[in-house]
């Protein structure tokens, strides 16, 4: 093996070894699609809260919140608090929702998550309360909830079918024109 090839082989082996070095910086687990950070280190009593909502945009029937609780004084993440999420409709009448946020459904296990099946489109006020050893904390935010989207069947099925039918008609027309100009053809549609 020439010196050049030996050098090249050593470089590649070093690269391979570098890749095989285990790292402790693993991600914190699965997340949710279309998440948006709504509050970042928002003061709530003795706590700082990060609130993430999903999906984006939140729609009627599906509002999911993830809450990270950290102690403001130490920056330590609090994992043994009781966290409640409450949604109140601002734009009119709708029953309020109160749901406890729990670790069990949180993609990041140290955080708290809740599913709020909001019933109407419009602005909802979401209040998050935290009770733990450091004390009580509370913060609120406003979220715009959209109607569930819907594509008419006329559009999603009817229009493509009409397109296919139109293609058939065009070919019938073309075949007739072809047959007139080439009368010996025996093909038909």
């Amino acid at each position: 093996m020439t010196r050049r090839r030996l050098r090249s082989a050593i470089c590649l082996i070093i690269l391979g070894l570098m890749l095989s070095i285990p790292s402790s910086a693993l991600g914190e687990g699965p997340g949710t699609g279309g998440r948006l950070i709504r509050l970042e280190d928002e003061p709530a009593g003795p706590y700082l809260l990060r609130v993430v909502s999903s999906p984006s945009p939140p729609r009627v029937g599906s509002l999911y919140l993830e809450v990270r609780v950290t102690e403001a004084s130490s920056g330590r993440e609090i994992t043994d608090a009781t966290v409640w999420t409450m949604a109140t409709f601002v734009d009119g009448e709708a029953p309020p929702l109160v749901v406890e946020a729990v670790h069990a459904i949180a993609p990041i296990p140290t955080e708290y998550a809740s599913h709020l099946p909001v019933s109407r489109s419009g602005v909802w006020q979401v209040t998050i309360t935290v009770d733990g050893t450091p004390g009580h904390g509370e913060t609120s935010l406003l979220l715009q909830i959209l109607e569930t989207s819907s594509i008419s069947a006329y559009l999603s099925v009817g229009l493509p079918l009409a397109g296919l039918a139109a293609l058939g008609l065009i070919f019938i027309f073309l075949q007739r024109s072809y047959a007139k100009s080439s009368p010996r053809s025996s093909d038909d549609v």
């Binding site: 590649l12 890749l19 997340g31 998440r35 999906p55 945009p57 599906s62 999603s156 493509p160 549609v189």
Partner: protein, 487 residues
């Protein structure tokens, strides 16, 4: 270095193909043209993308691991995908042009161990198809979209793959035969408006050195070994513009072509790998979007209960194996078989029929990917601003403000997005029908026979359209939360 490519007698001769005169030439536009033709012109763009890739790796490995807060996940899964699909629609294969993964090539070439040629059995798209399957499977299984750390390692993997293959082989097999991103870009660049072509065919006829492919003393020739006067397709063209820089006669143009020219003309290579790639990519588009909506969890639950598959990875492997491999295979072989039966012309080989109608799936797939990637880009395009604010603040820099503005997200009004998705999918379908009909109407065949041939393909496209619109009609689900007890 191994053997350099050279023009041989069995390749089409320059001037044998009719070429309309070149009108607009991007390479001769003021400023931009000069920059692109400059010897280091590509490097400018590559350095920019290299810096972005460096940020993805650095922030992914060291930054916050909440996906919407980290530039690795936001840049890779929102901005890269949005940029690629829009660039392909409006111009061409711009990502491969600025590809950062090929930047360490010079070093790799100096390290070149053997300089051999890529093995003949692998000189096709099957490896790329395998790579696409792998990356989409990993994307869903490992939730790459939610993990900045894993996203960073994907970028590292691309750098490493490109580097190692460049070091081991004389040509650029990573781009042409391996890279899943490249395969995606090559396929949809066949619908793009710009293409490399000679300014004057007669100049190529009298050219001795063929520097565009063989290279000159200062500039390498085409990395994927395309010869400019015979280029009829954007397939395998990375838009690197080495051909333009190497040409001593300044005879290479990057010019617009007629819309859908490549898809409607009978230039598609009769190869099973190419047919399967374009059809499968359409199904990849559906399965990738399907992974975002709630019915996928019902499928997971059913598979866990009925088949006893406890592993998420195994369930996804089976699901994607059916959706992305078995179904496309059924469509390709079934479509070709039905075309033959319906047209009553048993003399036509199935490969010929499949390659005749497969290009319609480029248009269909493009519509689906545009609807999907465009959705993410429209809904979260501005997220990069607070993400960069947060990144800089984490490093003690308040250049973009003292607090991230997390309210910034949407690029377009919410009410526009679903109609735009529907328009993209329906446009893809109607353009696909147009492509089918143009390919069916050809000399020596009556419209009736052509119509009978295209019916199976048109019905498949109809079903794909309805399925895609049904998926996009569903709200994107809260992934990673509703499948509790299944994972």
């Amino acid at each position: 270095m191994g053997a350099s490519p050279s023009i041989t007698a069995d390749q089409p001769r320059p001037g044998s193909i009719y070429r309309p005169p070149v009108g607009l030439d991007v390479l001769h536009l003021p400023l931009l043209g000069r920059l692109l033709r400059w010897r280091w012109g590509r490097l400018v763009f590559q350095v920019f993308f290299f810096a972005v890739a460096g940020l993805v790796i650095y922030d992914g490995l060291t930054g916050p691991q909440l996906a919407p807060e980290n530039s690795a996940t936001v840049l890779a899964w929102v901005h890269y995908r949005g940029f690629v699909i829009l660039a392909l629609l409006l111009a061409g294969n711009l990502f491969c042009f600025g590809c950062p993964f090929t930047l360490p090539r010079t070093l790799a070439r100096r390290l070149s161990l053997a300089g051999g040629r890529w093995p003949s059995p692998l000189r096709n798209k099957w490896v790329s198809i395998g790579g696409l399957f792998l990356i989409f499977w990993l994307y869903e299984w490992l939730d790459l979209w939610a993990s900045p750390w894993l996203t960073a390692w994907v970028a590292v993997g691309y750098f490493l793959g490109s580097f190692v293959l460049e070091a081991l082989f004389a040509e650029s097999p990573f781009c042409k035969y391996v890279c899943p991103l490249g395969a995606f870009n090559f396929v949809y660049a066949t619908a793009s408006p710009l293409q490399i072509r000679p300014r004057e065919a007669s100049v190529c006829q009298t050219c001795v050195g063929k520097e565009c492919v063989n290279g000159s003393a200062a500039v390498p020739g085409c990395g994927t070994e395309l010869f400019v006067p015979t280029i009829q397709s954007n397939m395998d063209c990375t838009f690197c513009l080495d051909c333009a820089r190497a040409c001593p006669y300044d005879n290479v143009a990057l010019s617009p072509r007629a819309p859908l020219e490549e898809l409607t003309h009978d230039r598609w290579p009769a190869r099973w790998d190419m047919v399967f790639l374009v059809v499968a990519l359409t199904f990849f588009g559906i399965s990738n979007a399907f992974g975002m909506v709630s019915p996928v969890y019902a499928v997971h639950t059913w598979m866990a209960q009925a088949l006893g598959l406890e592993s998420d990875g195994l369930r996804l492997l089976l699901l994607f194996g059916v959706l992305n491999l078995a179904l496309p295979a059924l469509v390709v072989f079934g479509g070709a078989g039905l075309s033959r039966v319906l047209s009553k012309r048993s003399d036509q080989p199935p490969l010929q029929l499949a390659s005749r109608y497969a290009p319609a799936f480029v248009a269909m797939g493009f519509g689906i990917w545009l609807a999907h990637y465009g959705f993410h880009f429209a809904i979260a395009g501005l997220t990069i601003i607070p993400v960069m604010q947060s990144f800089l603040l984490d490093h003690g820099l308040a250049w973009l403000g003292s607090r991230p503005d997390w309210a910034m997200s949407r690029l377009l009004p919410q009410t526009w997005i679903l109609p735009m998705q529907v328009t993209a999918v329906l446009s893809g379908f109607f353009v696909a029908l147009y492509v089918l009909s143009r390919r069916a109407l050809r000399p020596g065949t009556t419209p009736a026979i052509g119509f009978r041939e295209l019916i199976p393909w048109a019905i498949v496209l109809l079903l794909i359209t309805i399925a895609s619109l049904s998926i996009f009609n569903l709200p994107m689900e809260m992934r990673g939360t509703f499948n509790i007890g299944v994972r």
